[in-house]
Every structure is written in structure tokens, then in C-alpha cells.
Point group: C3
């Protein structure tokens, strides 16, 4: 293998390892933002997302996403991926697939049946994620051919997860006590310190998520990677700043949860355009995402009365769609602000809409079938006592 | 230095940094699975494993392991390793040595004297680990010459630690209240969330542990590294899945602790063969290890009545031996299932047996002397009150 | 870009990502060592250090530090750094700048106004850190021209933060109840396990901090990097060992907090000389730093009666200065012990003194103005109830 190929492989492997670690971040964010009585269940869901995803994506999912395109819609299936010299790509794509599945977990935390969740998670990595992913990231996909830009997956990974989370949160319904007399009651998470460690780990992993999506680092790729690291970092920082100041002004306090969500919103939003925008563009995208996520979380909670314990719909669905659209505004090549007119923005809108439609429709079908068969929710008693004690017969916290 | 050498050094350094971080993972697993009153003591043991290990391995241990072979049994000692252009190897081997020592800590947690533990940990890195390591990883070692395969240390690191842990757990004896009226009482860990974060960190570091053991990434090594990353990942995932389903079927619940141990068992087991088996072979090894670890933990606890608070004997000793044997079954070159007959399996068995015999014998001698001199256990009062308050005069958790 | 440049860029990017993760480490150390009622405030301060720092350093700070030298004192300012092919350097320097700011946070924890802190943090990255940094790390800086050695920032990063922390801790004053009747009362941290995880993360990141400061890995740089990894590791280990044994002898217990601080002191101290000393020299520096930090923390607390909840002044200020001086003793090229006489030691002393004078003076001016305008401290009621509930209207820990 020549030196450039070694460099590229090494970078993809290291980036993939960083993305793997994001699973720990998702686990900590979800457990930290929810009640301690459901911690073990959340740990298990997040572990299983990754473990099922690793097996399924290797067994068939990868080929459905990256196999030769069938009508620009889906890849040609083949079992147990084993192409020589491609294992680094399998690894990198596997950790991405697992991320999409994990996002749903947070939105339906504290009330969903474990067995049902496992099946949904499996279908997420088997079908839902690979198909829309194929449209964008396989060069023969119909959105790819149209010129749609989603560099590292604001839509392909995050929005797909976020819209599936939206459907799931609606269908599972709110937690007991969340909405009473038409009012939304805050159900505080049990450990914001653990939640914030999760956010730091996610940010840490995101440098691999976005930087690794260059899929190379040799030659001219090197500066692209460095540029991506900077755009990623600035968007995360900007998201934190705008979310903090918005809550300070609007609610009279620099809100901790919202600031953490602002970081994630900035990172999700810049994921589509991290290789296409300037540092200043990335900073603007982060600022916008940090503001929007605060109001999106409030709107979904208080107006739509959809119970999303960790804000996954807003952080991944809304911010992902927003960031994908903003590529059409801030891309230095073809963006609205750079004289490109509305053409690119239009294509971005088509992609955002198509991916949302796909994720919402297929998630609804899957969850509808699951609801009519094994059911979506645990019993009232299980929910009140906590899922740990009933589903897993354990307490996570003891003396 | 030429480019290939730079690439190799860089990979070994980065992998070593990942392995270093596993020390944090071990600390979190051991503290999370035990009672809060002993947390500080466990932190100190894990820190000292690494700190003593770093000094001892540099001072003399590295040469005993990798120095010119004396009768295929031990390396030629030399003080304070300082060979130019070899510091990356010293670092990588140091973080490995510290891992072996750390494994023992978990099995004798919550009742062992701190000073005794420090001496044992020192001897682990000074003598126990380097000598059997020399047999396998120095090309002149007798097991190496025989064709024994233990790529990244299922036996060299994990089993050595696991068998030492077995001897230590027996000699130190069970915790007060663990076995009453011939019955094993569960003593739940104080924080499974912290324990699960530890497992995530270990998995994260394991990519460096196994991938870095290629000791190179240039040229044809690059694809080997990528293959190792995939086999490692699939075995961990498979271990989680089989452990979960076994407990679900056998005990009526998807058990959280056992699933976490299943991950570790899968990772330990594939460590020997990660470069010698196919992805499917790694998946099978992980599945088997995840099943075996559940029954091994139960057997050691309930039948043998050996008190191992974190399951270290099963996770590292049993799974390490199992994984080393399974190389003889699944190795694509020479394995039983690939037409190699029983030859390789036989060599693997010899290695497993020899390393176990060494670790058990020398650990017994060392611990016997320690028992007769400074003693192994804290007083009854100290154990009941917790080691933190007596040994370290502190409480780790306050308002 | 040629292969060597790619290798160097890749290493700097990866090292920078590791240093980024140190922000999580600082957050955990500071929260773990303080009371739970202020956890959210500390999370916010640490996040904002990094977010404000990322923006400010990109906007102007980087140019003040690395721009063409004006009279050897400050760089030529230019807005929004955008030099092509330099983004990896911007990233690496940004994560360093954020570290300096973070250090102050710990020393004034649990009583400082959030808004005041944000302004001070901003000025830290905007002015305080870049100017003294310019003196040392821009080749035209006056200390650089004099031959002052501070390879990775014992003084440039840690001492600057530590001396600013000293001034801030004095001016903000001790926490309520810390000193009563002339006696220093221990205020134990709420979670030493979280604190120790923070230390592990910091150590993990420190390999990037020191190793990445080579700013290259190609050719002959490769062995330099490996040497740095070893010196860094040995100093951290030695610091833990000496701090533990000192407390064991002096106080009758192997103290956990002090051992953790010993690690950090060893790492801080070796940061200046990690590329200039031998492994044995690094070991000696770590040993000395681990001893000194124990007495420094006690002296500052009990004699000077300066309330520094996490020991930041001793760990970063004292150990940073100490380590910088010890380069003059242990540098294999020019150090006192290697026949270099007092010349190098003298230069090191000038640098240590100059940087301390700068950090102390400017911090005093800034804090004096802040005190006279918006004030430094929260109200008595806020402090007693905790900053979380008043400043952020939240509890970090719930059911």
C-alpha cells in the first residue's frame, strides 16, 4: 500500500475510534438528563444500539448503503461485508450508523419497552439509515446526483435520527406526569454533571465525525481536514454562546441544559457544511443553531406537547435540517451569500424534505406495526417504579 | 527516519495513548461495581498500578521481557531503558504492563491492605508479567519458538492478570457478609453508570490495545490494522449480545452487569486472535466468550465460593484462556475449522497451561510470603467501615 | 502538500483533539473537588472558557501572540485569522489558550459572580495569555531571543494561569466558613471519583499537550515525540509516588487528593523541559514537584490563608515555575547538572519572574476594575445556598 493510502487509512481508523467514543457521550447525556430510576435501561439501549448496529451493518446494512446503486434508491445487497482493503471504511461507516440509531433512544426514554426498542434499533441500522444514506453518500444516489451537499451527515445521520425520534416520541406518548391540566411539567434530569461530561465526549468525538468524513488526509486533503476541525469547533462554541445568551435574556438565567444543547445544535448544524463554509460561516451557523434549538425545544415541549426528555428532536432533527439548509446560504461555492443565488438552497431543501419524509414515513410504519403487536410502552407500574427494577431487576445506584 | 518508520512510530504512540486511557476505564469499572465506601482506595490502587508500573518497567521490567533471551526463559536485565529510537516501544509496553497489574485489583477489592497491594502490584510488573511475556513476545522465548499465537495478549496480559487474581481472591478470602450459611449474597455495586462508562472507555482503548499490537501501520500493515479494528469491534459487540440473551433466557432479565462483562469477555477473548481470524471468526469468538463469562462468573461465585467483586477472574482469566485456545479453532491459517487439524490448538493449549501455571505458582509464593509477613487483609472494623475512612482518612462522596 | 507536511499536520490535529478533551478533565477536577451545590456553575465556567476562548483567539488573540513582533513585546494584530494552510496551528494554539483561562476557574470556585468570571476569562484569552506567550513562543519575543526554554508551557500556559489564579483568589477572598478563628477548615469536595476521572483525562490529554508541542512528527521529529511521551509519563508517575509517600509519612495516610495533585504537579513541571531532559531527569522533576506541591498547598491554605478550593495556584503556578526553573538544572544541553553552569538557570529564572510579574500585574488591574464596577463576589445568600440555584436556577443533582 502506498504512503498516501496508509495515511488516509490511518486517519479514517483514528477518526472512527473517536466516533465510537461518542456512544459513551450519548449514554451519559441521555442518563444525565433523565431520572436515575431508568439509568440501567438507558445504558442497555445505548450499548445495544452499537452492538446490534455493528453486527447488522457488517452483515447487510453497509451493502444496502454503499453497494452498486439500484435505481439510485438502494445499494445491491450482499452478505457479510468482506471486501479486502476496505475494513477501515466498514468501521467508519458502522460507527456512523450506530449514531443514527442512538438518537432515537433519548426521545423515548423512561417509558418504552426494551424489547420493542431493540427491534426498532435493529431496523434503524438495517433499513432506515442505509437507504436515505444511499441517496446522498453513494455517488449513484439520486440526491448525490442532484448535487445535494451533506458532508458528514447533518441530514444523513442526525436528521434521520431526529425525525424518527419525533415519530417515536409522538407514538409512544408522554411520560406519566409530564403534561397535567394542559401544562408541561419539567422533569429534571438526575445528574447534569454526567450530562455535561457526555457533551464534552460528543464534542471530542465530533472532530473525528466531521474530520474523518473527508475520508482521507494525504496531499491536499490535509488542509481540508484542518479547515473542518476549525469550522466544527467554532460552530460548537458559537452554539453554546448563543444558547446561553438567549436564555439569559429570555429567561433571566444562563441555562445549563440549554447551553449544552446549544453546543450539540451547533455541532449538528455544521456537520453538513463543515467542508463547504468558511470559519466565519461556521460561526454564523453555530450562532443560528444555538438560538433556534432553544425555541425549538420549548415549542415542541410546551406548544406541541411532545415529550422528548433530552431534546433529541430539536438537537438532531431541527438542527440537522437547519444546518443542511444553511449550506445553501453559507457555502463559499454556490451559497446564497456568496452570489450563488437560490439554486443550491433549493437543492438542499429538496434533500431535507426527502430525508424527513422518508424517515417519518418508514418510522411510522415500523412503530405502528410494533404498537399493534408487542406494544411500545411499559406498564404504568413499571414506568412509575422505574424501568431498571422491572425490565432489568436491578438498581444502578446503591450504597 | 524514513516515512514508513515515522508512520509506524506515530501509530504506536497514538495506540499507546489510547491504552493509557484504559486505566481510567479499569478504575471506573472497579469503583462502579463495588461499594462507595471503598472508592478512594480503589482509585489509589489503580493510580499506583500505573505509576509503579511505569517506573518499574522503565527501570528493569522492559529488559526482563524484551532483552536478549537467557535460555528462552527471561530477558537479559539492564537498568533504566534508554535505547535511542525505541522510546515509543517502551511506552507501548509500559501501558500494557500496567494493565496486567490492574486486573488483580478488582478481584481483591474492598478488603485488601493497601501496602500489601502496592508490593504485589510492583512484583507483578517487575517479575510476573515480564517473564511469561518474554516466553511469547520475545522472538527467542520458548513459546514463541513453538509457534504459540497470542497477538495482543489474551494470555500474556489478561490471563496472567486473571490467574493472579484467582490466587489472590482465594488467599485474601471473601468479603464479610458475602457468604453466609453456605449462600452467596449479592453485594451490589454503588454506581453502574460509572461502571458502564468504564466499559466504554475500555472498549475505546482496546482499539489501541489490539490495533497497536501490529506495532506498525506502514505498507501492508495498514490493512492488517483495519482488519484488527473490525475483529475487535465485532467480538465486543457479539459478547454483549450473547451475554444479554443468555441472562434474558436463563434469569428472565437482560442483565446489565453481565452484558457489560460480556463486552469485556468478547474483547479479552479476541485479543489473542484479532489478527489471525476473519470477521466471522471474531464474531463467533465474541459470542462464545459472552456465554461462557456468564456461567463462569456464576460458577466461581456460587459453586467455588470465591469472592471476585468485579468478575475479573472470569473476564480476564477464563476469557483470556478461552480466546487463546479459540485461535486454534478459528485461525484462518492453521485453525481447526480451516483444515489445520489439532496441531495449532495443541500449541495454544500448551501456552495457556504454561502461562496459567506460571501465574498461579508465582502469585501463590508472593502472596504467601506477604500473608506471613505484613498480612493481606485489613481488620474487620476497617472493612466494615470502609477502607477509605481508615486507610486514607477520607470520604470520597460528600455534599 | 508533501508527505512530511501531512504527517506533521495530522499529528498536530490529533494532539489538539487530545488537548481539547482536557477541558472535560478540568471540569471534572473542579466539580469533584468542590461542593455539589456549585456544580452547574463550574460546568458553565469551564464550557465558557473554551467557547469564549475559541472565538476570541480566532478573532484576534492568535495574531497578538504569533503575529510579527512589535518590539519583541506583542504580535501585530489582525482580525479573524484565515491564513491558508495554517488552520491546524490555529486549532492547536486555541486549545492551549483555553487551558490557561480554565486554570483560574478552580481557584475562585464557589463564590465568584458568573458574569465577572466571563469577562475575566475573555480578557485572559484576549490579552493576558497571548502577550506573555508572544515573549516566549514567537521567535521574535524577547524571552525567546534570550534563550529561555519553555517547550510546552509550564510557564506560558500553567504559570500564567496559576499566578492569575493567585491574584484572583486573594481579591475574591475565601469562601464563607473557610477560615474561622484563624483556623483553616477543610471543605471536602463532593465527589473524588469524578475528580480522579478528571485527572486521568488530563493525563491522557497531556500526551497531546506535550507531544503535540513538537509541532511536527516527520523525520527526526518522530523520536523527539516518543521521548517527550516518555518524559511526560514518568514525571506524572513520579509526582504521584512522591506526593503519596510524603503524605503517608507526614500525615500518616496516603492522601488521595494530594496524590491526584501530585500527578498534575509532575505533569505541569515537566511541560517546560519534556523535550530537553532525559527520562531520569523527568523522573526527578516529577518527584520534586510531587513533594513541593503538597507543602505548597498546605502553605497557601494554612499559612497564607488564601482559599484555593482545587489547589490551582500550587499545581499550576508553583509547579509551573518550579518546572521551568528545573530545566536549568536537568536540561541535558546546558543544565546545571550537565556541566552547563548557572547560565541557563539564570535565564530560566528571568523568564519565570517576568511571566509571574506580568500575570500578577495585569490580573490585578483587570480584577480591580471589575471589583469596582460589577463586583467579584456573589451575595452571602447566594454563596450559602449555592450558585446553581441562584445564578442558573437549577439543581444539577436530582432523583
Amino acid at each position: 500500500m502506498d504512503t498516501n493510502a496508509v495515511l488516509d487509512l490511518m486517519w479514517v481508523v483514528i477518526a472512527g475510534i473517536l466516533v465510537f467514543f461518542m456512544q459513551a457521550g450519548f449514554t451519559l447525556v441521555e442518563t444525565g438528563f433523565t431520572r436515575s430510576k431508568n439509568t440501567g435501561n438507558i445504558i442497555m439501549k445505548n450499548i445495544m444500539d452499537f452492538c446490534i448496529g455493528s453486527v447488522v451493518f457488517w452483515a447487510i446494512g453497509y451493502s444496502l448503503m454503499y453497494g452498486d446503486s439500484i435505481s439510485s434508491f438502494i445499494g445491491t445487497p450482499s452478505w457479510f461485508f468482506s471486501k479486502p482493503n476496505e475494513m477501515h471504511n466498514l468501521f467508519f461507516q458502522t460507527v456512523f450508523a450506530a449514531t443514527a440509531a442512538t438518537i432515537v433512544s433519548g426521545a423515548i426514554a423512561e417509558r418504552t419497552k426494551f424489547s420493542t426498542y431493540l427491534i426498532f434499533s435493529l431496523l434503524m441500522t438495517l433499513i432506515i439509515y442505509p437507504i436515505s444514506g444511499h441517496w446522498v453518500w453513494q455517488s449513484g444516489g439520486w440526491l448525490a446526483k442532484m448535487g445535494f451537499t451533506d458532508f458528514a451527515g447533518s441530514s444523513v445521520v442526525h436528521s434521520v435520527g431526529g425525525w424518527a425520534a419525533l415519530v417515536a416520541a409522538i407514538m409512544v406518548g408522554p411520560r406519566i406526569g409530564k403534561y397535567t391540566k394542559g401544562k408541561s411539567n419539567a422533569i429534571p434530569g438526575h445528574n447534569l454533571l454526567i450530562g455535561s461530561l457526555g457533551v464534552f465526549i460528543l464534542w471530542f468525538g465530533w472532530f473525528g465525525f466531521n474530520g474523518g468524513s473527508e475520508l482521507a488526509i494525504s496531499g491536499e486533503h490535509a488542509n481540508n481536514v484542518a479547515d473542518i476541525i476549525i469550522t466544527t469547533n467554532l460552530a460548537g462554541a458559537a452554539g453554546a454562546l448563543s444558547a446561553m445568551f438567549v436564555t439569559w435574556i429570555a429567561y433571566g438565567r444562563p441555562d445549563i441544559s440549554m447551553t449544552l444543547n446549544g453546543i450539540l445544535a451547533g455541532l449538528v448544524a455544521v456537520t453538513a457544511g463543515c467542508a463547504a463554509v468558511s470559519p466565519a460561516g461556521a460561526f454564523a451557523i453555530g450562532l443560528i443553531a444555538g438560538i433556534v434549538v432553544v425555541f425549538a425545544i420549548d415549542f415542541i415541549d410546551k406548544k406541541l406537547k411532545i415529550d422528548d426528555p433530552v431534546g433529541a428532536i430539536s438537537v438532531h432533527g431541527v438542527s440537522g435540517a437547519l444546518g443542511t439548509l444553511l449550506v445553501g446560504v453559507f457555502a463559499t461555492d454556490g451559497g446564497l451569500l456568496y452570489g450563488g443565488g437560490f439554486h443550491k438552497l433549493g437543492i438542499q431543501a429538496i434533500g431535507v424534505f426527502a430525508i424527513a419524509a422518508w424517515a417519518i414515513t418508514i418510522s411510522f410504519i415500523v412503530l405502528f406495526i410494533l404498537k399493534k403487536t408487542i406494544g411500545l410502552r411499559v406498564s404504568k407500574e413499571e414506568e412509575v417504579d422505574g424501568l431498571d427494577i422491572h425490565e432489568h431487576k436491578t438498581n444502578c445506584f446503591n450504597e
